[in-house]
């Protein structure tokens, strides 16, 4: 009796097995649909974004520009209008809205150059940096303080007061020289003065000229008693 039931059941065995597989396959549809994730994990992006290593200071940038570092690529994220008014030498203008357009992708997504992003301050540049970082673009830096800092440190550096450390004076002379490189001219007088001051040898050896003194001959007193 039992045996007969079993045989009856076993006759459906293939159908039963196939139903099990169909159910499992159906389960795949129920599985959460994962959108294709664009970019690196959010946790990693956060870790990268909070480290300050992405910033480059205006002094370091000026130094590299003066030394004509061939690996440097400057990208101006401001509007074309601002760019035409003033931009760093050899910078490429990519308004922030266009950073992912096909024309400019090659500038940002590469490994040969050290790309420095800048804007008026570093807010826009940071936005672009975070977005590019999500796509795992390499070698991107942000100019700390942007053009405004560039003006106040390189183009028009503040003169140190007399009480400041000698380091401040060294920095000032570097910045002043850098500003001259970037086109700022200083009145001639001032520079001349410095040159003169430097060139003037302090030690002057004066040969002693011996002037023989004429001894006064005492004239014989004439006359007398």
């Amino acid at each position: 009796m039992v045996n007969r039931k079993l045989v009856k059941f076993l006759s459906f065995r293939y159908i039963i097995l196939s139903i099990v597989f169909i159910v499992l396959a159906g389960g795949l549809v129920v599985l959460p649909k994962f959108e294709k994730q664009e970019g690196i994990e959010p946790e990693k992006l956060l870790a990268d974004a909070i480290s300050p290593e992405r910033y480059i200071s205006t002094d370091v940038l000026a130094d590299r520009m003066i030394n004509q570092d061939p690996t440097l690529l400057l990208i101006d994220l401001r509007t074309a209008e601002d760019y035409n008014k003033y931009a760093l030498p050899n910078a490429i203008n990519i308004p922030i809205e266009n950073i992912f357009s096909k024309d400019y992708e090659g500038y940002l997504n590469q490994v040969e150059y050290d790309v420095v992003l800048y804007s008026n301050d570093n807010f826009k540049a940071d936005q672009a940096w975070i977005l590019c970082k999500r796509l795992d673009y390499k070698n991107l830096r942000v100019l700390k303080g942007g053009i405004n800092k560039w003006y106040s440190t390189i183009i028009n550096p503040e003169k140190p007061t007399e009480l400041m450390a000698s380091k401040a004076f060294d920095l000032y002379s570097f910045r002043k020289a850098a500003s001259m490189y970037f086109g700022v001219a200083y009145p001639q007088k001032e520079t001349e003065k410095r040159v003169v001051a430097k060139a003037k040898p302090k030690v002057t050896t004066t040969a002693k000229v011996v002037v023989p003194k004429k001894k006064k001959k005492k004239m014989p007193v004439e006359g007398g008693c």
Binding site: S119, Q127, L131, Y151, V184, V221, G223
Partner: protein
């Protein structure tokens, strides 16, 4: 008999497959955070300035203030009614729960740091994760004699006209330096000192 053996094998294989699938499903760990905005959409979101919350807005709207500085800074001084979530902890499960709750209640969350730049990183991250109710408070925080001073700040301001400055400096340098009026030589009055002429000694007596 042969038939039965074949079935046996098939059933063993089937059971093993099912087990494998179940184990795979159980061991799969769902990533806790997923971007819900595409990169183009995120760019569009930051390009408009909807996320800016000024100091004046603080009085007008209903919102939740979040201080993204470190706990030490927060204790030192913070805005009224602000809670503290330090930037590196922004993705912690507890904090994610908070942001999720705020999103569900349709309440605006306003982030602030020592400068708007400091709040940018957590803001952008949360925005890309799909929290669209986040804003940045555009203030600079400063301390003066242990008192917190809140100043409004403007973003991306074109402060200086550098070209003009350079042109002017060149103009100044090339312009003929003003001839500084030479100090008139003070004419020294020479009062000739009469030399006492020694008269030849004449005679005597």
């Amino acid at each position: 008999m042969k038939e039965l053996e074949k079935t046996k094998r098939i059933s063993i294989a089937a059971v093993l497959t099912i087990l494998l699938v179940i184990i795979a499903l159980l061991s799969y760990k769902r990533p806790s955070h997923l971007y819900s905005e595409s990169i183009e959409k995120s760019l569009e979101l930051v390009s408009n300035s909807d996320y800016i919350f000024t100091q004046q807005d603080l009085e007008k709207y209903d919102f939740e203030l979040v201080d993204v500085r470190s706990n030490i800074e927060y204790i030192k001084g913070h805005l009224d009614n602000a809670i503290n979530i330090y930037v590196p902890e922004i993705l912690d499960p507890k904090n994610s729960e908070f942001f999720q709750e705020m999103k569900e209640n349709n309440k605006t969350v306003v982030l602030y740091g020592a400068s708007p730049n400091e709040a940018l990183t957590p803001f952008m991250l949360l925005q890309q994760l799909g929290y669209n109710n986040i804003k940045i408070l555009t203030v600079d925080l400063e301390y003066s004699q242990d008192k917190l001073i809140v100043k409004s700040s403007t973003l991306e301001e074109n402060k200086y006209d550098i070209k003009k400055y350079i042109d002017e400096s060149i103009k100044k340098a090339t312009a003929k330096p003003k001839t500084i009026p030479k100090p008139k030589p003070v004419v020294k009055k020479i009062t000739p000192v009469k030399k006492n002429k020694k008269l030849p000694v004449e005679g005597g007596c």
